[in-house]
């Protein structure tokens, strides 16, 4: 096993697109073990932050530094699941086999690893079905299986349940919990505060591209430290004013 990727350190990371500042001097450190949930209103820069950390977007300024470098061409040690799962016109199993091939897994091992990944998310029965005609929940579970199968050290999730019904959402949360239990660092963006409360150990709260608050999840929901976070929670959970959450 190579040296750990974590902790991840962001130093004064800014991202400007079309004259608009999407991320504004974000500095943070992510460590092993905790489930980190990124919250914030629309346009706060949450998705862009995830993409910058995952290396899909280069920051305009500032640095993103992992504890050890990923060698170019070597299998990736971090993975990402997107809001809309990107699946190819192959069977569910075929999608996983492709990802294993990209990761350099020898052909003889692919079938077994893909099948066990499907089993872990409860999709073994639809292994041979074309991936793109599965239900939204099944597609997202398949995307999670694909990410998990590669045993990443860090898994980024960008609103993985945004388009799903409550039942499918529960299933996804169960899988995310299992991935966490298996030792993968979870970094997730969500708009679902119930989900954030169920899954988060710590909260990163973004507002207008700035990281305005960061801390223990329970404390954040009980007594947000900043006016922005308080207003956000107020807006998202209007009943909170009368409840003693």
């Amino acid at each position: 096993m190579a040296e750990s990727l974590l902790p991840l350190a962001l130093k004064d990371v800014s991202f400007v697109a079309g004259g608009r500042t999407i991320l504004d001097r974000v500095a943070l450190r992510l460590t092993r073990g905790t489930r980190t949930v990124v919250l914030g209103p629309n346009g706060a820069g949450k998705s862009v932050l995830l993409r910058v950390m995952h290396g899909l977007i280069a920051p305009t300024s500032g640095t993103v530094r992992w504890a050890s470098d990923e060698r170019p061409g070597a299998p990736r040690r971090q993975a990402m699941v997107f809001q809309r799962p990107v699946l190819f016109r192959r069977s569910a199993l075929g999608n996983l086999r492709f990802a294993l091939a990209v990761a350099g897994v020898p052909p003889a091992q692919r079938e077994a690893r893909a099948a066990s990944a499907l089993a872990r998310v409860g999709l073994l029965s639809i292994a041979r079905q074309p991936a793109r005609v599965l239900s939204g929940g099944e597609q997202q579970r398949l995307a999670l299986a694909r990410a998990w199968m590669l045993e990443p050290e860090v898994l980024f999730l960008d609103e993985p349940t945004a388009n799903l019904d409550p039942g499918a959402t529960r299933e996804i949360e169960r899988v995310i919990q299992a991935i966490h239990d298996a030792g993968t660092k979870i970094v997730m963006v969500t708009h679902n505060l119930g989900q954030a409360q169920r899954l988060a150990d710590e909260i990163l709260f973004l507002h207008g591209g700035r990281l305005v608050e960061r801390g223990d999840a329970a404390a954040f929901f009980r007594t947000p430290a900043t006016a922005e976070a308080a207003a956000y929670l107020e807006g998202e959970l209007p009943w909170r004013t009368t409840a003693t959450a």
Binding site: L56, G73, V102
Partner: protein
């Protein structure tokens, strides 16, 4: 009108009894055009996909050139290949001029811009949707290009078919480099041109009908394969 009906009746009779001359010409047409499209695909599809996925200096200029070449006249391609393959030309020693191979080369060049440009377009659209996922998985440029070609296989079928349609229906290139030699390099389009000028309208019309029927059948076949695959794969 009388000529047309008479010629039409004779044409159908020729098709119905599988006239030997007719069959020979059709077989050569199919052989040449299928080979040329296969040959062209081997280069045009990877190039189109690479142009969609890779970023390098001069890509924009290359794409513009490729798109401009869509309007390449068949006779010009014929002329260029003729100059290359003629005795005095750089490839004259190969002795390919006025052979079916020369026709394959000419048609392959003719359909190359069409195949590459259309492939680039559909792969570029798919790349916009899948880039982040492929990069996230660690796929490099060539892996991504290959994966998208596989993913778009049913769409590419339509593109390949368009290339075949262009190849089998062109007359200028094969006329120049093939020479329309009876029994050797005579294909449907060159035969139609010749028989019409000779006044043998039944054979010309028969070939025309077969040409149309072939192109139509291929299109129906390809689009039903594509529809079935799309229903299955989404």
């Amino acid at each position: 009108m009388n000529t047309l009906t008479q010629a039409g009746a004779e044409a159908f009779a020729m098709v119905a009894r599988l006239d030997a001359r007719l069959v020979e010409i059709i077989a050569l047409s199919l052989g040449v055009s299928l080979s040329s499209v296969a040959l062209s695909c081997a280069f045009a599809l990877p190039l189109g996909a690479a142009l969609a996925v890779a970023t390098f200096r001069g890509r924009g200029a290359l794409v513009t050139t490729l798109n401009a070449l869509l309007g390449l006249p068949a006779v010009v391609v014929g002329l260029l290949v003729y100059l290359l393959l003629s005795r005095a030309g750089p490839l004259g020693a190969l002795g390919l001029l006025f052979t079916p191979r020369a026709m394959v080369i000419a048609q392959a060049i003719l359909v190359f811009p069409l195949l590459a440009a259309l492939t680039r377009q559909v792969v570029a659209d798919a790349w916009a949707e899948t880039r982040e996922q492929l990069v996230s998985l660690g796929a490099g440029t060539w892996t991504s290009a290959g994966a998208l070609l596989v993913d778009l296989r049913f769409t590419l079928l339509t593109i390949v078919l368009a290339g075949f349609g262009r190849a089998i229906s062109e007359v200028g290139a094969v006329m120049i480099v093939g020479g329309n030699i009876d029994g050797v390099t005579r294909v449907m389009t060159t035969a139609i041109a010749l028989e019409t000028s000779k006044g043998d309208l039944p054979l010309a019309l028969g070939l025309g009908v077969v040409l149309l029927a072939l192109v139509l059948a291929l299109n129906i076949g390809a689009s039903s394969i594509k529809d079935a695959a799309q229903r299955r794969h989404g």
